[in-house]
């Protein structure tokens, strides 16, 4: 018992605060030291072992060659911003000039009131009722990131591209997004970022604002990632986020959504593909949605396809506060176990303090439908194609959460490519 604790405190002792946002950073560090790093006995880490996230140095991850696929979203007109092992690379990036959108770099420590007001604020609020130590660690120690403020409808998406070059890189990035009233922004994120990636994204969507987020985590087998997305969705605002994860020895994606204004909408979806034959795979989606206003709509759609000892976990919670009447909360978590070695561990929760609400959750786990498979085979579809077809149809509900059709098509192509590489 003593050893992991000692390791964890070594990491805390060595921690240094990053550039700018002095007060928020000092506060985060104090909060982190008070809460400590998690261990397996924490109820919130019941299904995911945080040991390799706690150790001081990132476990090495060989750089993965993904050149067999064209880079994602290359065909889209977008503003590219490139990070190499967690450091912004201006030479590889586009000129961040975009009408109605202000884009700044965290490492420049800009002293701007909107960013000062947002940095660490949603993260702090998201620490209750459940502590999220790696998010506090991020707020204290993040070395770089992008600060985006949209004041109008952005003409094109902003695309953060993460490149992993060093086997031991341990990047900590903290991004801010502020969508002003009536503005709209799409944020894309792709790539593995580093051997062990800690990312926080704080998104504040003001009245009537719209925010779309599509994230594709890297194909590296050995990489680790712990990400947090904190968002506050104001009156009549919309928030939509989709994440595709393929491979990765350990991924924990936490999403903390506060439906703060009446008639707000928040959708969060994820598709995860894991094949234990090409390296261990552990994927954890942890979602916490708080309804604090009337007529809010939230939707969670999480699908996992697992084989050869891959492990998928899902912890999702809908909290409806007193007075959040007419809330419509929906949650589905499903896993397809393609063989007998894989596991799915889930804890879908509802906590409801208002009576005029409609909340439901569903969770299913099982193998491919033999009848459907037999039907396709009897129609002359080869076995592997039939499996791929059924897997895609299983994932369809999650993919449907992406609004942009071009982006959707690229995601589907990625899924198909993964399935064809991981046959049998």
């Amino acid at each position: 018992m003593a050893a992991p604790q000692a390791k964890a405190s070594a990491r805390l002792d060595a921690l240094q605060t990053g550039p700018g946002f002095g007060a928020a950073r000092a506060d985060a560090l104090a909060r982190l030291r008070a809460m400590g790093l998690p261990d397996r006995r924490d109820e919130y880490w019941r299904y995911t072992d945080p040991a390799t996230l706690n150790v001081q140095a990132a476990p090495a991850a060989p750089v993965f060659d993904a050149s067999d696929e064209a880079p994602l979203f290359d065909a889209l007109d977008r503003v590219k911003l490139v990070f190499v092992d967690g450091v912004f690379d201006p030479a590889a990036s586009d000129d961040p000039a975009l009408a109605g959108v202000e884009i700044l770099r965290l490492a420049d420590a800009p002293d701007i009131s909107w960013a000062n007001g947002l940095y660490g604020t949603l993260e702090t609020a998201g620490q209750t009722p459940v502590a999220r130590p790696f998010a506090a660690l991020n707020t204290a120690a993040a070395t770089d990131g992008i600060l985006i403020r949209a004041t109008a409808r952005a003409a094109k998406p902003v695309h953060l591209i993460y490149i992993h070059e060093s086997e031991t890189s341990d990047p900590i990035l903290h991004h801010l997004v502020k969508v002003e009233p009536g503005a709209e922004l799409t944020l894309l994120e792709t790539g593995p970022a580093g051997a062990r990636f800690n990312k926080v994204l704080e998104v504040d969507v003001a009245t009537g604002g719209r925010f779309h987020h599509v994230q594709v985590q890297g194909r590296d087998h050995q990489r680790r990632a712990v990400t947090h997305l904190f968002t506050r969705v104001a009156e009549e605002a919309l928030f939509k986020s989709f994440t595709l994860t393929a491979n990765g020895v350990l991924t924990r994606n936490e999403c903390v959504i506060d439906i703060a204004g009446d008639d707000a909408v928040a959708h969060v979806a994820g598709a995860a593909l894991g094949d234990g034959a090409t390296g261990a795979f552990h994927h954890d989606d942890t979602v916490f949605i708080t309804h604090g206003a009337e007529r809010g709509e939230s939707r969670q759609v999480f699908k996992k396809v697992l084989k050869h000892g891959a492990v998928g976990t899902f912890q999702g919670k809908i909290l409806v506060k007193p007075g959040a009447q007419k809330t419509d909360g929906y949650q589905i978590s499903q896993s397809l176990l393609l063989d007998d070695d894989s596991q799915f561990l889930a804890k879908p929760e509802l906590e409801i303090y208002a009576d005029d609400v409609k909340c439901s959750h569903g969770s299913t786990t099982g193998a491919l439908d033999e009848t459907a498979l037999f039907y396709l085979r009897s129609r002359g579809v080869p076995q592997e194609e039939a499996v791929a077809l059924l897997v895609l149809s299983f994932l369809a509900d999650a993919i449907a959460e992406i609004e942009d059709e071009d982006i959707q098509a690229e995601i589907v192509a990625r899924l198909e490519a993964w399935l064809s590489r991981h046959r049998g």
């Binding site: 896993s335 007998d340 894989s342 889930a346 409801i352 009576d355 909340c359 959750h361 969770s363």
Partner: protein, 507 residues
């Protein structure tokens, strides 16, 4: 009133007068007290008290040692606080662990010798302690063959069992039905073999405390191939003040046997909280089947949350043999605090576990209840249907676990948890854990939360029902799946309890 009555009459074919009596019961009908001289052990718990309880029950040495082991373990344990329950710290030294009516100093040889005051208590509760062919709590259901309606009763009053009915008739079939204290003396080989084999002494804080201080409870053994000729039931009554009740029930269904077991419980209205920590262990061997039904109606406390029972219960069934089957049905309407998770260990191949629950929390009640389905064997099946109803300022949580172990190939679980909220001051929560470790099994979980449907209410109101009746009817409809799983004896009582527990929650 009439509409509701008509419905019930058609459904159960029960005498109209009975229905009305039941319908007109006060909000807690069992809140009176029996005035009787009691003998107490000194307040608090320590090794001497544990020895004293063992001695009072005339237990052999091995049993005393077993209790002491548990007690020593308990002293090292911490009270669990993970449930969504909010209550002040319990002072375990500020209550009595043993209370026995003085008239029971000499154990009566038969029920005829029992103190008439005690017999009257059970009569008033509607529990027949005479060997008559009448259903517990229900009068004149003439339509059904007399033989089918015999119910053997073990009556437990505070810390002691008063006696057990139909013993001789059961003995003819080879069935052993007696108090656990009697079983420890008369059937030590069975008790030694099975006691603590499903819920070990070290299981959890409350079960360990129970292992140390349990005073009485029921023991059932059904021999191989025997279908128990009548339903068995235990009726628990807490009467003494500041006294905890710790009963222990052990049921063993040998190969190919069958038994249906009913459990009921009530307590007087008191200003202070009282502790109840029970353990129920069920062992089910090959091809045997046990149905265990509970109507839990401990005093729930008043509208302000004063008084009421703290109910911490560990119930577990172990389907040890192939094709063993267990069905838990519970109607939880009482108690200030409910902490209870009747579980099924599905070890035998093709074994089956079912859990049907209605949990109603009104006023300041808090319930955290659910089940565990632990699939270890191949081709095992489980089904969970839970209906939680919250009203007033109550909090109601479903907490459950379904786990499919790697070897539990081709197993199946279906879970449905529905919550109903009445009023905007209460809460309804669902905390299921789902762990699937093989792919030939299929697990499905569904949960919904809603309020009483306005259209349905409007329809009932338009037919002349007042609002409370209308809500009761809609709620009964919501609970239907579970009510139907109850034995006939309980279905009636449960149905009316649903209406009573919600009284005052509308408007």
């Amino acid at each position: 009133m009439t509409q509701v009555d008509q419905e019930l009459e058609v459904r159960e074919g029960v005498d109209r007068e009975t229905v009305e009596t039941v319908q007109n019961m006060g909000s807690y009908k069992y809140g009176w007290e029996t005035e009787i001289e009691m003998e107490y052990a000194p307040k608090g718990v320590n090794e001497d008290i544990v020895r004293l309880i063992s001695e009072k029950n005339g237990e052999p040495e091995w049993m005393t040692e077993w209790r002491l082991q548990a007690f020593r373990r308990w002293q090292t344990m911490e009270e669990p606080r993970w449930a969504m329950l909010n209550y002040p710290a319990i002072d375990y030294q500020d209550q009595y662990y043993y209370a026995k009516p003085k008239s029971m100093a000499e154990k009566p040889k038969s029920l005829d010798e029992v103190d008439p005051k005690l017999l009257a208590t059970y009569e008033k509760l509607g529990i027949p302690l005479k060997e008559q062919m009448i259903l517990a709590g229900i009068e004149g259901a003439e339509g059904i063959a007399a033989d089918a309606r015999k119910v053997a009763v073990d009556a437990v009053f505070d810390s002691v069992s008063l006696g057990t009915t139909f013993k001789d008739e059961l003995a003819k079939a080879g069935v052993i039905f007696c108090s656990i204290s009697e079983a420890i003396k008369e059937h030590p080989e069975l008790v030694k073999k099975y006691l603590g084999s499903v819920v070990p002494q070290t299981d959890n804080f409350f079960a360990t405390l129970n292992s140390a201080v349990f005073s009485d409870g029921s023991f059932v053994y059904i021999p191989p191939g025997v279908r128990c000729p009548m339903e068995l039931s235990t009726y628990f009554r807490i009467n003494a003040e500041n006294t905890g009740q710790f009963e222990r029930t052990l049921i063993i269904a040998d190969k190919g046997s069958y038994v249906s077991y009913l459990e009921g419980c009530t307590a007087p209205k008191r200003e202070t909280h009282q502790l109840h920590a029970a353990v129920v262990e069920i062992v089910i061997l090959e091809d045997a089947e046990v149905k265990y039904s509970t109507v839990q109606n401990w005093y729930p406390g008043d509208e302000e949350g004063r008084g009421g029972i703290y109910n911490f219960v560990t119930k577990r069934a172990d389907c040890r043999g192939d094709r063993a089957k267990v069905m838990w049905t519970q109607v939880e309407t009482g108690s200030a605090i409910t902490w209870k998770y009747p579980s099924c260990i599905l070890r035998g191949e093709g074994s089956q576990g079912e859990f049907y629950s209605i949990a109603i929390a009104n006023n300041c009640q808090q319930a955290d209840t659910g089940t565990k389905m632990i699939h270890l064997g191949k081709n095992t099946r489980s089904r969970i249907v839970s209906k939680g109803i919250s009203a007033g300022r109550a909090q109601n949580t479903y907490r459950g676990l379904v786990t499919m172990h790697p070897k539990a190939k081709n197993s199946r679980n279906y879970t449905q948890c529905d919550s109903l909220l009445i009023g905007d001051q209460c809460g309804a929560h669902t905390v299921p854990y789902i762990e699937v470790k093989n792919n030939s099994s299929r697990v499905e979980h569904e949960a919904t939360t809603s309020k009483v449907d306005d259209d349905q209410l409007f329809y009932c109101r338009a037919r002349g029902m007042d609002e409370e009746e209308a809500v009761a009817l809609v709620v009964n409809g919501f609970c239907r799946e579970v009510l139907q799983a109850l034995p006939m004896e309980f279905a009636m009582e449960a149905q009316s309890l649903v209406a009573i527990s919600l009284e005052g929650s509308v408007g």
